[in-house]
């Protein structure tokens, strides 16, 4: 029994008459790529694998997590450790003379704190 009507049968026969020949150069290129990959040192070749990508992502997440944890611990132990306090120093002098006379000017004179009317 015929599977198709006459029109379809002709279409199918014509359809089946077309082919694409295999080109030997394709196999040569594939082999060259394989030997090229095989020649790479194993750690370098591993870098090109999906496992390397997963490992890199995992490392990134781990390092980011540890960094956040360290910053949080630091800020908890020194609550007033801000950028401003770090810039002005511990005595809060802003580089100006203080009553204790510890700060000095660039000229070497010190302020006694005495007010002359």
């Amino acid at each position: 029994m015929n599977e198709f009507d006459p029109v379809d049968e002709r279409l199918v026969r014509i359809l089946g008459a077309s082919r694409a020949p295999a080109e030997p150069a394709v196999l040569a290129r594939a082999r060259a790529r394989l030997t090229g990959t095989a020649r790479l040192p194993r750690p370098i070749a591993w870098l090109g694998t999906p496992a390397a990508l997963v490992t890199a992502c995992a490392l990134f997440v781990a390092v980011a997590g540890v960094s956040v944890a360290i910053v949080r611990t630091e800020s908890a132990t020194t609550p007033d450790a801000t950028l401003v306090s770090a810039l002005i120093g511990d005595d809060g002098s802003y580089g100006l003379p203080t009553a204790s006379g510890t700060a000095s000017t660039a000229t070497g004179y010190s302020d006694t704190g005495t007010v002359t009317p």
């Binding site: 279409l11 199918v12 014509i14 008459a17 077309s18 594939a30 082999r31």
Partner: protein, 191 residues
């Protein structure tokens, strides 16, 4: 007897592929290079891109071979790899440029036409074949795929199920729709 020999032969080839013997890949290409290129050319309609896909498929075969147990059959496994690579390319490409008017659709796709023996029709089969190729270009990817697997590469329904990973009913209905669509397109182009 011949079938048994072929089966043993294929099993041995699969074992050599799994062992990653370098010559085994050459034998795969010798046996299946034609069908692989025909499928890729028919789907992508571009000779160079089809060759790139076949090259990539060979590399995938080599890399995936240790995990291939062979219960599916070498031909369907390899053609499935080619079909998947073609789908990836087509997805990225979004559309297929039709063969420009006046240009040979076979040349454009990298296909060659062997005249059909005992052709009784009055119409020049080469002209009809060119019309069929232009009609194929217009079909959706899914329909083109089943027509090529069935009528160009001669896969059985069971082999198509394995290649496309769909149930038999889907294969049959897809084939019927594809043939109807091809007939319609050929009628539209006019012969």
């Amino acid at each position: 007897m011949e079938e048994q020999l072929a089966e043993t032969d294929e099993r041995q080839l699969i074992a050599r592929l799994r062992a990653r013997e370098p010559e085994a890949l050459g034998e795969v290409f010798q046996r299946l290079g034609g069908p692989m290129t025909t499928l890729a050319s028919s789907m992508l309609r571009d000779r160079d891109e089809a060759n790139d896909v076949v090259e990539d498929a060979l590399l995938r075969v080599h890399r995936a071979a240790p995990g291939f147990r062979g219960e599916r059959g070498l031909r369907t496994w390899v053609l499935r790899i080619v079909a998947n690579l073609c789908r990836d390319r087509l997805r990225r490409r979004k559309f297929i440029a039709p063969t420009p008017e006046g240009e040979d659709p076979f040349e454009h796709a990298g296909l060659s036409f062997d005249p059909v023996p005992d052709w009784d029709a009055e119409m020049d089969q080469r002209v009809l074949a060119a019309v069929v190729e232009r009609a194929m270009e217009r079909l959706p990817e899914e329909q083109r795929e089943v027509l090529v697997l069935r009528h160009r590469l001669g896969l059985s329904h069971a082999e198509m199920m394995e290649t496309l990973n769909v149930p038999e009913g889907t294969v049959k209905s897809r084939l019927a729709r594809a043939l109807a669509a091809l007939r319609e397109q050929v009628g539209e182009i006019g012969i």
